[in-house]
């Protein structure tokens, strides 16, 4: 796996959120990211999962030679790869937190922007896998819901495009509603900043696991949230509650980092224990880490089957 991630760094420039912020069309963005990302991989790990032959295509370096059609090579003296129709047996739903705190960004890209790109890429990726794709946005309630469908890619992307951070957020109630609306098993990607106690978060995620969904959790945090780099005396105002407290950043920085690290560590541990794939993403970093997570998770799932 290490070789995969190191080789993928070559195309990482394309995945930088600042670069992506210049692309207004989410579909184009997702396609660019996903195709670019995949082209950089040396080994195709997901094609050929189906048994239905689809077509041949010329061999390209990096293709799995196990998929080479040797018979055709014997006849034509050329290398061809056999392509198969993928199965469309999974639902992929993105659960996107659009609470007020997601509007925060200390650089060009807010957390919501980053979440939007990520959701678009994952949705596009899943659609390439022939999965049915859907999306649910929520804050303290479900805001918009696009049921999973093979035809709903555009609708999902459009919903993402419109998503705006508004009200204060909460995980319990909207995720309960989402669980109730998703009756068929599928893959759920939960994207949020998780500003709640680990216990509350876990209890909400367990609701999702109840019907048998595979849950991936993407924890987005801005670099400023991670480092608290502020200087000078300031009044810090909670973006959701509006509460203000005077803060001397230099004084509280260390304590803040410790508390935040403890929070993420607890989330990681408890998610892992609960069988939930957890990824902490810095919104200033490229998207490749998230995509790798998704690929790994997808592969793991296919192997289980």
């Amino acid at each position: 796996m290490a070789s995969v991630s190191s080789s993928a760094r070559a195309g990482a420039q394309l995945l930088l959120p600042e670069v992506l912020a210049r692309i207004d069309n989410l579909e184009l963005l997702a396609r660019t990211v996903v195709e670019g990302f995949l082209n950089g991989l040396h080994r195709s790990i997901y094609l050929g999962l189906s048994l239905d032959f689809a077509e041949h295509r010329p061999y390209m370096p990096g293709d799995d030679i196990r998929r080479m059609d040797w018979r055709l090579f014997g006849r034509t003296d050329r290398h061809y790869i056999k392509l198969f129709e993928a199965e469309t047996n999974a639902n992929f739903v993105v659960l996107l937190d659009v609470s007020r705190s997601m509007a925060y960004g200390s650089h060009a890209v807010t957390k919501l922007d980053y979440a939007r790109y990520l959701a678009a890429c994952l949705t596009y990726f899943a659609r390439r896998q022939r999965d049915r794709v859907g999306i649910i946005t929520f804050d303290d309630d479900v805001v918009e819901r696009v049921p999973p469908s093979a035809r709903n890619l555009d609708l999902c992307l459009h919903t993402l495009h419109r998503a705006e951070a508004g009200r204060p957020g909460e995980l319990g109630r909207p995720l309960l509603k989402a669980t109730e609306s998703l009756r068929r098993k599928g893959i759920l990607a939960l994207i949020s900043d998780f500003y709640e106690d680990a216990e509350s978060v876990l209890s909400a995620v367990r609701l999702l696991q109840g019907p048998g969904h595979d849950v991936m959790v993407f924890h987005l945090l801005d670099p400023a949230e991670l480092e608290l780099p502020f200087e000078g005396v300031s009044d810090f105002r909670d973006m959701e509650s509006g509460e203000r407290i005077p803060v001397v950043p230099a004084k509280v920085r260390e304590g803040y980092r410790v508390l935040l690290a403890a929070h993420t560590a607890e989330l990681r541990d408890r998610f892992t224990a609960a069988g939930v794939d957890y990824a902490l993403l810095d919104t200033s970093g490229p998207l490749d880490q998230a995509l790798f997570r998704f690929l790994l998770h997808r592969e793991k799932r296919s192997r289980v089957r």
Partner: protein, 713 residues
């Protein structure tokens, strides 16, 4: 000595002490606001921010509040109340006038230093409640400090004024002192008169009446009469040689006091360069004169001086400054009959040729016609008892007069005045009056208000009564608006009359100007008389030769400038042009353009140059200024004479005001406060505290994590 405040109401300002604390505690609202996704972790951090409601930097708070308190206290004017001072000393506070003579005779020896030291001593002797005024006087007087108890200010005022170049006049200074003493409400009055008590400055009828009870202390700085030399006068005779002015300077030198003869050297300087040096011997208490070799005068406004080579104790009167310009002689055309009567103009031409300054350029035309070209450029035409003739003579003469020319008509027996020019004369010409049978007529009435006779106004300035007139023409001046009679014979008939015609002047003399009809030309007064008549007919005015230090010139007044010989035919200084006056000591005074007076105070002896601003070379005009020679007489006056004169006349008791006591009480508090001036100390301390507070505050704010948020109060 309890601490009291002169204006305790200002202490209400102590409420401002709360300002630094309030400002600090409420400054929280101005903190920067940072939007952050969630405060759930920040709220859990043990150290977040220290409460602003606690005061952390007591030293800063102390500095700030103390500074405010000191400023408030300073405005309340604190002072340490002394009962002994408030009760007064003896007769109570006095109003003291210190009168210091700053005339230039105070420059003899170290009189000026002695005078200042005497004045300082008078200031130091002032009681704690006494008020004093410092008045300097010379020809005029000015108050340097009026009724002040601050000895520092009084002493400083003594250092700000130097010697003047004016003469002494006790009247203005004493009058000013009298006014101050009369207006005071303090019970005591004193006058300290510091000077050399020159007799020349005291007339005896100054009319000074000091209030009763005034204590006069004369401080006499002249012990005895000192010998003194002076350049008493300078004569600059002028003659035309080959079209150029040749000046022959001579000077009259005086010496007062001294023993035996004294040898000295007199120096003639022109434009700052020494031209000649002549030795002279001055007798004791006598005079001498010296004449220099003539020199040519080429450029206008040439400055010069005649001075003693070595100055005595009183230097300013050892030099006489002058300014010379090439003379602008008045062109005079004398028209006579010629022939056998050619001598009729002899007295006229000879009289006009004698002039110290070459004032007249005389031409004689015997017979012939009178044409316009003949009169061109002539300022005065003298028709000396001859017929005018025809051929356009009448028209030419009328045009000439109306254009500004001067005409003197001598009405003798040969005059034939044409009828068409009758309106030019101030009256109607009649027949000849013959007084040969009697002893002749005399001039009985002269109009001394008229410029022609003005110089003969004083006694021994010209005796017209000696002249006898045997014949004259009858001139009937009927209308006083048309003609003005300037002189009459003792029988009432007109001797001299004038009339203004257009821009010109016509004067008619009803007798002749030779020795045939009268003997006036043989009298000494004839020459100045003729000069005056011709000069008046030409429209030229007599110029003042030099100015005296202390005089003031108004450069914007063209008429006044012309009378003092500045401007005139050259044109008065343009009031719309900015000018620069350079004083003898080299200072530049800018005389701004525009309307209104442009005063030039001639303070120093020497030559003042006036030129357009921005022009380095062009000397538009120059003014010579000399000191008043009256000051050169250093003979002292008995101070008792002055004191007695002022006090003997004062029999009036000054009115005591009813509220004088209460007012004096208030004054005492003010005086105590003013003398202590504690407010200055308080303000200075407040500034020091504020500066220290600024430094401390800046240092605290630079310490990481110790921002002003925590600092201070």
């Amino acid at each position: 000595m309890p601490l009291r405040f002169l204006v305790p109401a200002f202490l209400l300002g102590l409420a401002a002490l709360a300002i630094p604390v309030l400002v600090h505690l409420t400054r929280k609202q101005k903190a920067r606001v940072v939007d952050f996704p969630s405060l759930m972790f920040l709220e859990r951090v043990p150290f977040r921010a220290e409460s602003r409601r606690r005061i952390h930097h007591w030293l800063l708070l102390l500095f700030r509040t103390l500074a405010v308190a000191l400023v408030v206290a300073a405005f309340a004017r604190p002072f340490l109340h002394r009962e002994d001072l408030a009760a007064g000393t003896g007769a109570g506070p006095r109003e003291v006038v210190i009168l210091v003579d700053r005339s230039y005779s105070m420059g003899v020896g170290n009189r000026w230093e002695q005078a200042l030291e005497a004045a300082r001593a008078a200031v130091r002797e002032l009681g704690p409640l006494d008020r004093a005024s410092v008045v300097f006087f010379a020809r005029s007087a000015s108050v340097a400090v009026r009724s002040d108890t601050d000895q520092g200010r009084l002493l400083a005022a003594l250092d700000t004024v130097g010697l003047s170049h004016e003469s002494t006049a006790y009247g203005p200074g004493l009058k000013l002192a009298q006014t101050i003493l009369e207006e005071t409400e303090l019970p005591g009055r004193a006058l300290v008169l510091v000077g050399d008590f020159q007799r020349a400055g005291w007339t005896g009828d100054e009319g000074i009446r000091l209030p009763a009870g005034t204590e006069v202390t004369p401080v006499v700085l002249a012990s005895e009469a000192r010998p003194n030399r002076a350049v008493a006068g300078v004569s600059l005779s002028r003659e035309k040689v080959a079209g150029r002015d040749r000046i022959t300077p001579s000077a009259r030198l005086t010496r007062t006091g001294g023993d035996g003869e004294e040898a000295a050297e007199i120096v003639l300087e022109v434009e700052g360069r020494e031209l000649q040096r002549v030795p002279v011997t001055l007798p004791a208490s006598g005079a001498a004169s010296v004449t220099f070799e003539p020199f040519n005068l080429s450029r206008p406004h040439t400055g010069g001086a005649i001075r003693f080579a070595d100055s005595d104790d009183l230097a300013p009167d050892d030099v006489h400054h002058f300014v010379l310009s090439p003379g602008r002689a008045i062109p005079v055309l004398v028209l006579d009959e010629g022939g056998r009567n050619a001598a009729s103009s002899l007295f006229i031409t000879e009289a006009l040729a004698i002039s110290e300054e070459g004032s007249f350029d005389v031409a004689v035309r015997a017979g012939g016609g009178i044409t316009t070209s003949l009169l061109d450029g002539v300022s005065v035409v003298v028709v000396n008892d001859r017929p005018l003739g025809g051929g356009g003579a009448a028209g030419a003469l009328r045009t000439y007069v109306e254009g500004g020319g001067g005409l003197l008509v001598v009405l003798g027996e040969r005059i034939r005045w044409p009828q068409e020019l009758a309106d030019l004369l101030p009256g109607v010409v009649g027949g000849i009056v013959d007084r040969a049978d009697a002893s002749g007529a005399r001039l009985g009435h002269l109009d001394y208000e008229h410029p022609v006779f003005e110089i003969f106004r004083g006694p021994r300035t010209g005796d017209f009564t000696r002249a006898r007139f045997f014949r004259s023409r009858n001139l009937q001046v009927a209308d006083s608006a048309a003609g003005r009679v300037l002189a009459r014979f003792d029988d009432g008939s007109v001797a001299l009359a004038e009339k203004q015609v257009g821009k010109g002047r016509v004067l008619a003399w009803t007798s002749t100007m030779d020795a045939f009809w009268n003997d006036l030309p043989r009298q000494a007064v004839f020459l100045p008389f003729l000069h005056q008549v011709v000069r008046y007919a030409s429209g030229r005015t007599e110029h003042q030769a030099v100015f005296t230090a202390g005089q003031i010139l108004d450069l914007s007044d063209a008429a006044a400038m012309a009378t003092v010989g500045l401007g005139g035919a050259e044109g008065a200084p343009d009031v719309h042009q900015e000018r620069v006056a350079v004083t003898p000591s080299g200072r530049s005074l800018v005389l701004a353009s525009g309307q209104g007076p442009r005063f030039l105070h001639l303070e120093e002896p020497g030559v003042y140059e006036v030129r357009p601003a921005g022009s380095a070379d062009e000397r538009h005009m120059a003014v010579a200024v000399n000191v008043d020679l009256g000051e050169a007489d250093l003979a002292p006056l008995d101070p008792e004479e002055v004191v007695a004169s002022m006090l003997a006349r004062s029999g009036e008791v000054p009115a005591q005001r009813g509220d004088g006591g209460a007012r004096a009480g208030r004054l005492r508090l003010e005086d105590q406060e003013r003398r202590q001036a504690l407010w200055r100390v308080l303000l200075a301390t407040a500034f020091v505290l504020l500066a220290a507070e600024t430094l401390l505050s800046n240092r605290i704010s630079r310490i990481p994590g110790r921002s002003g948020f925590h600092a201070g109060s």
